[in-house]
């Protein structure tokens, strides 16, 4: 169903929330995405994806204690839910499965033409 599909960018964000646990919040996730993938991402885009993932039930969040560096504003910390973990696993499994089914020849052909 439409609501529980995991988009490519969403999957990336979901994975990074896992990587950064327990310190995953908007800005740190963006930093990590830039560091790991060299993609340019607006903070708003990350927030938007986080909000969607939470709506789908793949993430849960809570507000942190206030700190000084943000002018006293609290950050929202994210964590993967069981549903989120399952979605990741399912995606991973699907990819592996599909990858293993690619015949040797096709990959060879790719290599050849790549040369």
């Amino acid at each position: 169903m439409k609501g529980t599909q995991l988009g490519e960018f969403e999957e990336l964000v979901l994975l990074i929330v896992g990587v950064l646990y327990p310190d995953a919040y908007g800005l740190s996730i963006r930093e990590e995405i830039i560091n790991q993938t060299k993609r340019k991402v607006a903070i708003g885009a990350v927030h938007s994806a986080l909000s969607r993932l939470q709506d789908k039930g793949f993430l849960e969040s809570k507000l942190d204690e206030a700190t000084h560096e943000r002018g006293g504003r609290r950050k929202r910390l994210f964590a993967i839910t069981v549903l989120g973990k399952r979605a990741l696993e399912k995606n991973h499994e699907l990819r592996n499965n599909l990858f293993n089914q690619i015949p040797e020849l096709a990959l060879k052909g790719l290599n050849l033409s790549g040369l």
């Binding site: 206030a66 002018g71 504003r73």
Partner: protein, 887 residues
Amino acid sequence: MGRASDPYRPPALADKILNWLCRDELIEEIRGDLHEFYGMERAEKSALKANWSYWYHMLHFLRPFALKKLLSSNNHNSNNIAMYKNYFLIALRNFRKDKLYSFLNLSGLTIGIASCLMIFLYVRDEYSFDKHHEGYDQIYRVVTDLKLGDREFHRPLAPVVLAEHLTETVPEVEEAARIMVGQFNSVVDLGEKQMQIKNATYATSEVLSVFTIPFIAGDPKGALDDPKTVVMSESMAAHLFPGEDALGKIVTFNSDDFIVKGIYKDMVENGHFKFDFIMSYRYQTSRFQMGWMNINTYTYLKLAKDAAPETVEAKLTEALKTYIAPLTQSTFNVPGDEINANGNHARFYLQALADIHLKSNLDREISVNGSLENVRTISLIGIIILFIAGINFVNLSTARAAIRGKEVGVRKVLGSKRKQLITQFLFESTLYSIGAFLLAIGVVVLMLPYFNQIIGRELTFSLGGTPPLWLIMTVSAILLGLGAGSYPAFVLSSFNPGKTLKGQTQFKTGKSWLRSSLVVLQFSISTTLIVVTLVVNNQLSYVMDKSLGFDKDNLITLDIMDLNRYDRNEEVLKNELESKPNIESYSRSGFVPVSGSRREFFLEKLGEGAAKESISVQSWPVNETYIPTQGMTIKAGRNFSKEFASDTTGLILNETAAKNLQLADPIGANLSLKAGGESYAMRVIGIVEDFHFASMKESIKPLIFYKGRDPWSISVRFSGSPQEALSTLKTIWENNSGGQPFVADLVSQQYTNQYQKEDQMKGLVNAFSVLAISVAILGLVGLATFMTEQRRKEMGIRKVLGAKPSQLFAGLLRNFTVPIAISCILAIPVSYLAANSWLSEYVYRISLSPLFFIGASLLMILLAWLTVSFQSLKVARSNPTENLRYE
């Protein structure tokens, strides 16, 4: 929560926008992230770059997930928007589903709205006259209204000296501007060259400041203070001095040298005057002695901001008593204390500047003004067309109620309230109306050139103006949608879901009395329009073709501008003219019978004791060639002749004059002619047949010819084509007139121009009546299609039972004939009254024969039959199995 101080402050405006647009529950974390990010950026980059990047990321938060729901303050009611989406979708589907119906509905509304839009543009233009002058609502024109003894004088003119008197004694009058002689055409000399000038006048410098006349060269202040000064329009300057700077140049008029003191932008078309050449008013006043009895000046007063015109009018009455009353005895033979008694009256009054164009229709207006009557008639027709289109909408919507009934039933079962259903149908009709407005804009843009041709204007379409047209259109689109949609919405939403879902219609589609009466109303209006159109067209062609008592065809008048130059060569010119085969005769006197030159003298019957008759007559000086050249007929006696020296005291009367004087034996009767305070003893030598010299709206007035010369024009009778005659005339004129410009007119053309307003009216009535009727026919097509469709099954059964197609056809036709026939009968009294009131303005008019009504009714019924028979024939001839199979 306490806020610690930020080390860096991000752009405040960006923060504000974010605060304003973002959801409250998200704002804290978003701003937190952004601020933290800004702190990091500032630590490594310049403030400018960091600010820029802050803005960039802020704008990226303006996404659906973060935005407040703007349409409702709390988020509970998003259903509303969803419902409107659904209404929109359903409206679109219905539109596509029944294309014929949608097309008829939309095209009817579009025609109606496009007509109204064009009419609106025209009416707005008519009402915009003179409103471009700054402070136009403070400007008034003085009108003199006198009836003293036999003389009547009601003109927008005031005594020469009134303006000075008012500015000196009345504090409310800020400025008084004066114009003399209205708008005339003449010639000026530029060295040896003679050039024509148009729209010339004499005016004081105040005219340039009371009215808004922007100068492009020279200084308007005091520009016309010296007697021999002139200011002119840009285009006149280009005409007289092409490619040169006209400022400071000399122009010779009437053998006097005028210096060009200024050039102004061409005056706009929508003003009650349009001058191109303004000479100093002082030029006139310095040459002639002028006082309170010289009532020849258009006087415009600019009043103080809060001054009431009534107080100024009171002052005017005082001035009248003090200065005019002592003079009436000598001028009018009426003692000063009787000017407002014994059937006399004398007064000044003020006309607001903005009212002049539409409401003032006095003798001696500066230019032909508009007609409030035309504006009203055309507005009425506009409203009628829209009304007919609205009826179409109501009829077609309710007729299709049965189809929409199921939808209503389902919606009701699923929990729709009646209010919601009404909203749905109103929304749908508003969509239609908005769509029609958008289409109408396109139609107007395409049709405006033709419309301009009819009204003789240069209207342009723009959505601006005050109030802006787009706003008017939006508001009217919604009002029209709600207005036309309210009845269908009310009917459709009233259905009982149980019944409609079972397939019963509650709304009897065949026999709705309301729909029938609306059709009757529509067609009564259309029939009335046809009758009025027929009458207007017939009357105007009657006016054009009526025998006038003179021959207006094959007659040319030529204006003489400069008597000196002309008289030098008159003999040569005359001989050359008469040698041409296509020139029949020539007469030096241009009292063109159509323009109705006013020169009133008094004629008194002499002798015969106490029965002394005195009448006022039009008196035209003519020579012996005048009557034959104009093609008039001598009824009794003879024409003037060179052989009788005594003809200088001879008179030729028209039949009306002879009749009014009650002369038993007119030829040879002795009369006394009073002109300019003198009496002349005259003898009648002939009677000329009555001819029309004024509009057909007036009866023929008494008129006399006396032997004399009106030196300012020539009339020429020709044979063959007018173009050829004009070119012959032009060649001869250019060789012999001493360089005067050639200003010639066909009399038949002048005659036609006299009925310009009526002709305009005819064009408008014709065009819009056709539109109104086509809208009504569109509605009938829709209704006929629908109703025959409804009766398919019935027709099938009838056929199976043995009815012939012709019987079925007749039955279907009868259905529509009855309401149309009723509407024709209803239209008779209304159209009779309308046509009669329009005709009553004419003294010479056609009679309202019953043929008009019969013709219009037959035309209407024929049109209706044509419309209906196509559908009826199709159903009547179809195979009954097809009609009965569909269930």
